[in-house]
Amino acid sequence: MEAVSLVGQSSARAGTLMNSSEELIARARRGEDEAFRLIFDRYARPIISFIYDMIGQRDLAEELTQETFVRAYKNLKALRDDSKLSTWLFGIAKNVARESLRYKHRETDKIGIDDDRVIELSDGKLPPDRALLDKELSGVIQHALGTLDHDKRLVFTLKVFQQRSYEEIAEITGSSIPKLKTDLHRARAEMRRRISPYLGVGYEL
């Protein structure tokens, strides 16, 4: 089944690391820096991607990723359920990103994009070169993401890009699952409108 195979892709990659999260946490709590380094290696990419999707600035995303892992290290003893390390990390990252957005006194939930790949579509025709297409597509997705309000962007990023379950997203965001589903449905609809030229002729719902 296609849907199942698509969902399973990221978890297969995550399983390649030998140490369990529980074991790494226990070792890190005992002061083993190497264990925390392995936790970083495992989660740095999804965390920095998530933060980047939330704030839209590359340098700031790196800075906030640093802050996320430092906070995680300092509060490792506060993690109650070691099996929920990734959920916990995403929760910290969400808070760090939100604080940053508040600090910048953003009056709107829309984020600015500092990526030069954002390209305005003129006639809906796709360039033939695949690499160029991917670059352009990434710019369009990023731009579209930046137009979502905070709640929709949050749930869309966690569900579509990070493939978290609704239960995990509810824990990370503190929102109810019905609200998350509603926000996600609306976010998908908004995103679909923006990327529809890339979905092929006749793509309409």
Binding site: A3, L6, Y52, D53, K135, L137, S138, I141, Y166
Partner: protein, 278 residues
């Protein structure tokens, strides 16, 4: 399952958020419904587009280095904070060092008071002194206090203390008659006891001042510090010598004067060292 139900659940289907029964019902319906099947294909294609989303982000080694540096800094800060708190608690229990200068000063005042009382007592008309020894050389070990180099001279002089008498006529041992007015009182301290009390207060005050000075040594000019240390060395030698003589001649007022004057001198030098860092 009809098309409306299918389309309301199709996002959960794509997300893998449905139970197995719902997945089976959806699959059965889409196998027989071309419109819903196409809908599913479009959503899958949409999802695949999102997976092609390349942010162009790299997790640099510098990122971990920054995190590691901050972790180590945090650890060091916590460790130093713990040590500081322990030190504060210990010092609070043992020495109360923040109040030591004032406390030391109070002790010195008391010691000086006791010294003055001893001297007044020794020099009072009611005291009857008799030369009770035929060994005139016995007190020759008394050492003159050594002036500290670079430190204002405050050691006993002719105005401040009774000058030692010429050796031939100086009493080497003094026997004190019991003062008449206190003859009935057994609680009246003897001069030796008073001197010992003053000495104890000087020793305590010097210990406190020395601790403060040790903390401030790094703030002193090295040349000045060397001169202070030389002065303290000389004074310590004087204290040692005069204490020995005073012990051997517990009722010799001159020996006692020199001993207390040496202590006083050391207090002065330590105070000056402390003042030099303020």
């Amino acid at each position: 399952m009809n098309c409306e139900n299918c389309q309301s659940l199709i996002e959960d289907y794509i997300d893998g958020a449905l139970d197995q029964k719902s997945v089976r019902d959806m699959t059965t319906h889409m196998n027989s419904c071309a419109a819903c099947a196409r809908f599913r294909e479009e959503l899958v294609r949409e999802q695949q587009l999102y997976w092609r989303y390349d942010r162009g982000l790299e997790v640099s080694t510098a990122l971990w280095s920054s995190i590691e540096a901050r972790i180590k800094q945090d650890r060091a800060t916590r460790a130093s904070g713990t040590i500081s708190r322990m030190r504060e608690r210990l010092s609070g229990l043992i020495a109360a060092p923040r109040f030591s200068p004032a406390f030391a000063a109070a002790l010195v005042v008391i010691a000086i008071g006791v010294t003055v009382a001893v001297m007044s007592y020794l020099n009072s008309p009611s005291r009857v002194a008799t030369v009770a020894t035929n060994d005139p050389d016995k007190n020759r070990g008394a050492v003159q206090p050594v002036p500290a180099p670079g430190v204002p001279e405050k050691t006993p002089d002719a105005k401040q203390f009774v000058a030692p008498a010429p050796e031939e006529s100086r009493p080497t041992k003094v026997k004190l008659a019991v003062p008449r007015r206190n003859a009935a009182s057994t609680a009246t301290p003897t001069p030796a006891q008073l001197v010992r009390e003053a000495e104890q207060k000087y020793v305590t005050a010097i210990a406190m001042l020395s601790r403060d000075v040790d903390k401030r040594r790094s703030q002193l000019d090295p040349m000045l510090l060397a001169r202070f240390d030389a002065a303290l060395t000389d004074i310590d030698k004087t204290i040692k010598d005069t204490r020995r003589v005073a012990r051997e001649n517990p009722e010799d007022p001159i020996a006692l004067q020199y001993l207390l004057a040496a202590y006083s001198k050391k207090v002065d030098v330590l105070r000056e060292m402390t003042a030099s860092t303020d």
